[in-house]
Amino acid sequence: MTERRPVLAVIGAGPAGLAAALAAASRGVRVVLVDSAPSVGGQFYRQPVPGPGARRSQMLAHQRRTWDRLRAGLDVHLTAGRVTHLSDRHVWCVERESGRFVVHALLGPAQEESAAVRADAVLLATGGYEKVLPFPGWTLPGVVTAGGAQALSKGGLSLPGRVAVVAGSGPLLLPVATGLAAAGTRVVALIETAAPAAFARQARTWATTPVKLAEGAVHAARLLRRRTSVMSRHMVVEAHGEDRVESVTVTAVGADGRPAPGSERRIVCDLLAVGHGLLPHTDLAEGLGCRLDGASVRVDDEQRTDVPGVWAAGEATGIGGADLSLAEGHIAGRSAAARLTGTAPDPRGWARAARTRTRLRTFFAALESAYGEPPARWPEQVTDDTVVCRCEEVTAGAVREAVAELGAGDLRTVKLLTRAGMGWCQGRVCEPGVAGVAGCALAPARRLLARPVPLGVLAAPADPTPPQ
């Protein structure tokens, strides 16, 4: 019998997961790449759905070059059998089993059957999910998340509107707006709650990141060509419409964080894409007992979590975009390979990636403080009859009552007393909004099951199969 190569399960095939898989597979490790999508790339490298009339990919030139290299590298490893790609796997739990791991996943779109893979180590590259804040009218059809709109436009799928407003805060809005425009939607306004002054103060940080600067400039130029009105320090306070969104009310944000009196204006649109940045996906890490730093998985210089045998990279360890994810994934893959093959990890080998990581973490910390939080007074715009938890149809008024009259002082108690966050999404969508309306800290719930699982599957999960 030949010597068995150690197996690393990489969960998530976005930039971090792909970089990690390539780094580990080149260094003597058998990689099983588990991902929920039909093809690799994640949200960032999402490709147009193939078929007649398929749209051209929206990637910028440097993104395209990186993607081509990742794809080519992956193909070589796939052919050589060093990487197995398990697509359409929705991981619901990673189980620790006497020093090894079993990754349990539900199969395909139906998610009724389970499959399991055994591995010697696990690398979590689970990405992020979108932060959404409620406002009157946010549940109308035609109001979508910024990331959702981007997924549709990148995937070449039809958009639920022709005249769009993009609103919220953070660096995602610009590419979302240009992506919508490229997909044929007329983007009439880009509404950013952050102030341009705060942004300009970060110019030195921008200057150290020329690629980012170029990227931003390209996006901005594309928008200007399309005559989009760009408003900073503004916010959408209400969406109007009977059966779907027909217009939005936009106001300037005053110095006190409230809408500036008299600044309201109506903008007619049939698509509103809103987003306030991303939050790290940490469900699997928490199920494994990994320690968090705030909302992110805590990792050391080698991207190791505090649970032996578990690495994490990319947005799950802190929001920082694709380039940071690539660097972290590369480091995590090399560290995991070294430790699994019994050689000492050599940080000099990944010095370039480590420098990129340092630079981008600094950059995104600055970006975070530039965009900052949404205006502190935004919850005041949420009327009592606004539904804040859509799954359980809990209104802002019910949340306020739980706080004022029933003694709820934290997100968990608000959930227990109102059911906000107990529904299908398990709080992923509504937690930031509910926390804001309740006036308490955003402490995401522990979600021990990362996805809803049929009881029949839980009762008898599939036995792990060795990778083919």
Partner: protein
């Protein structure tokens, strides 16, 4: 002064206030932040053997019914749904019948159900069961809402987010109040309703109270139209509740809720305060539930959560004055029955506080019973993790 804003503390506050006392309710977390927030809200007589716990359960049930009649039923989702205990084998049915005979003598309604009648009560129950017992008195509340509304009804001064760091005592040794991380609170009587953490609070007064955590997982399914009418569980649940084993035990308890999801309890294991996910525990719960209700196989569990039952070595709570510290009262250690036993506990404590004699004999629940060298459970305790 009641320490602990779970359901037991809330009930103590309510009945003490009704007895004319001024009440302060203090908790280091929010209302319902401990085991109350992780429970199913069982108000059960069916799972209790005749004895002091059953007497407390019957008193409590009567008080819950009164509160529901007084207009709180909707606020805390009170449902007098009844419990159905099913036996899969003739042997299990025989011991269930024996248990029910004793319970009946103690005042419990227990109605035998033949195998062929089971599906009239629960149409989706599995085939081939030997029979069962219907307990019409068993009921359910939503525990966090119950705690919050009892606190509100009590009118007590609520001090959440405030950690008790010391029990203050005078030169005569009597209680004078508590020290917290945000100043002292004065009171001539302190009620320890800190649940699983009751041993820590007792230690602040210099006395030992062996409360241990017994972990339980609960599974919550997607919302369904009503299909499970009663609280349905297998006869071996009673044996598990009374067991001393530290190892994982699971016997399924399946019930619908007013909000739609089906709850599946209840695993029991003694692993300290370990919150990490245990797939074996959850797997066993799911297996047990689908054996009772095969349709659940295709129903999705949306979440699993863990809680820590406050468990005492003889499975009885500590209720009443602590003779070792004048002015200190205990109302904790109710294991998995804290919601069901809360109202009776609150009333008995209030009767003690008001200087009267409680309407139930509290001697089996004496907080200092483990100091007695002759106590049968004194030598079977495990090492004392509650002393840090």
């Amino acid at each position: 002064m009641v320490v602990g804003a779970g359901t037991v503390g809330a009930a103590c506050a309510l009945y003490a206030a009704r007895a004319g006392l001024e009440v302060i309710l203090v908790d280091r977390g929010p209302v319902a932040g401990g085991t109350t927030g992780a429970g199913e809200g069982n108000l059960l007589v069916s799972d209790k053997e005749p004895g002091p716990e059953l007497r407390l359960a019957l008193l409590s049930l009567r008080l819950w019914q009164e509160l529901a009649r007084d207009g709180l039923a909707r606020a805390f989702e009170y449902e007098a749904k009844g419990g159905l205990v099913v036996a899969s084998t003739p042997d299990a049915l025989a011991s269930l019948t024996d248990l029910a005979a004793g319970q009946r003598a103690a005042g419990v309604d227990a109605v035998p159900v033949d195998a062929h009648e089971l599906r009239d009560l629960e149409p989706h129950l599995a085939a081939g069961l030997a029979g069962g017992m219907l307990y019409p008195q068993d009921a359910q509340v939503m525990p966090a809402l119950a705690a919050a509304h009892l606190v509100r009804a009590s009118g007590a001064r609520l001090e959440t987010g405030r950690t008790v760091t010391r029990i203050l005592r005078g030169p005569d040794g009597a209680v004078r109040g508590v020290r917290t991380d945000r100043g002292d609170l004065r009171a001539p009587a302190v009620v320890n309703a800190a649940g699983t953490w009751g041993g820590d609070v007792a230690a602040l007064a210099g006395v030992a109270l062996p409360v241990l955590p017994r972990r339980g997982f609960v599974l919550v399914t997607e919302p369904l139209p009503p299909r499970v009418r009663h609280k349905v569980y297998a006869a071996d649940y009673v044996a598990d509740v009374a067991s001393d084993s530290a190892a994982l035990q699971t016997s399924p308890v399946v019930e619908g809720t007013a909000a739609g999801p089906v709850l599946v309890g209840a695993s029991r294991e003694r692993v300290g305060f370990d919150r990490s996910f245990s797939l074996p525990a959850v797997r066993a719960l799911a297996a047990g539930a689908t054996r009772l209700f095969p349709f659940l196989e295709h129903v999705r569990a949306m979440r699993a959560y863990a809680g820590f039952r406050p468990y005492m070595p003889d499975h009885l709570p500590a209720v009443g004055p602590d003779p070792r510290v004048p002015g200190l009262f205990h109302a904790c250690g109710h294991e998995g029955a804290g919601i069901g036993l809360a109202t009776g506990t609150g009333l008995l404590i209030a009767q003690c506080l008001a200087g009267g004699s409680p309407e139930l004999d509290l001697s089996p629940l004496r907080p200092d019973r483990f100091d007695d060298p002759g106590h049968p459970d004194r030598h079977t305790e495990e090492a004392a993790p509650w002393i840090r």
